[in-house]
């Protein structure tokens, strides 16, 4: 990444947010994100919240659940697998977080869905960007 001298703090915070989006399934590494934004970790968290309206943790969890919602509606992957895929090793934590943010369970959310599901074998292949087209149903 090029270092542009005139870059504002907001632009650097956006870059850190982009890094979170690229690594949404991994545990949050605040010190690493703070380095991307060229801020101290405590200042980073404070400024992130001021600029984007939620803490880095809140943002990450919301984005994970949004991804899970998309997968629940557009694939027939098992709920456990979706939770794992967006960064939750435990089904309990995934379901609890999902419910806290959306007000319903993953299963209930999926049941309300109308989009024709994509077979799980295809969806799994989607997740591996380097192996596109190698789905084996």
């Amino acid at each position: 990444m090029r270092a542009i001298v005139a870059e504002s703090e907001t632009r650097r915070l956006l870059r850190a947010k982009d890094v979170m989006d690229r690594h949404y399934a991994e545990p949050l590494d605040v010190p690493a994100l703070a380095r991307v934004a060229l801020l101290s970790p405590s200042h980073f968290t404070r400024r992130f919240r001021a600029v984007f309206g939620e803490t880095p943790h809140q943002y990450l969890y919301r984005r994970r659940i949004e991804r899970a919602q998309r997968l629940l509606r557009t694939t027939d992957l098992p709920v456990t697998e979706i939770g794992h895929g967006v960064g939750y090793a435990s089904l309990g934590t995934f379901t609890r977080t999902f419910r806290r943010l959306t007000g319903e369970t993953p299963t209930a959310f999926r049941r309300r869905g109308a989009v024709a599901p994509v077979p799980g074998c295809v969806a799994r292949a989607w997740g591996r960007s380097s192996r596109f087209g190698e789905a084996a149903c």
């Binding site: 947010k17 989006d21 690229r22 989009v115 960007s129």
Partner: protein
């Protein structure tokens, strides 16, 4: 009533930097680059779609973006990633990804499969998102 979309803006804070990014990194070509006195009118287009232009509009040109206070707000919102953005079509998203990686673009989303096709995203130097989509025949 109308025949086509002619020009849409992308807000930028530095037009020289914008010109470099949109031509050298994304592959646009310059259509018009002229000093109107009140603003530098700078438009680019894709070689395969020259009629559809993107205005690289400098935040701070008063005719376009208002007072200094408004410009500061616009810059802040742009740097939060929430003003202008666009979607480009491609025949091969993964090839585009490889080329953009080679050119040093700030890739914010790797190619991902969706019901509508494959897409990825890059950030321009100013905060604007450019999504790159290889569409299939799927329609919602």
């Amino acid at each position: 009533m109308f025949t086509s979309i002619a020009i849409t803006p992308m807000y930028v804070t530095d037009q020289d930097e914008a010109l470099r990014f949109y031509t050298e990194t994304l592959g646009f070509t310059v259509d018009t680059d002229v000093d109107l006195g009140t603003m530098r009118w700078l438009t680019v287009a894709l070689p395969g779609d020259p009629e559809r232009q993107v205005l690289l509009q400098r935040i701070g040109d008063q005719t376009a973006t208002g007072s200094a206070e408004t410009a500061a707000m616009l810059r802040e919102l742009t740097e939060r990633g929430t003003t202008s953005w666009m979607i480009l079509n491609t025949d091969d998203c993964r090839a585009a990804h490889a080329e953009l990686t080679r050119r040093g673009a700030e890739i914010i989303q790797e190619p991902e499969e969706h019901p509508y096709g494959v897409d990825m995203a890059v950030r321009d130097p100013f905060g604007n998102q450019i999504r790159i989509t290889q569409r299939n025949d799927w329609r919602p």
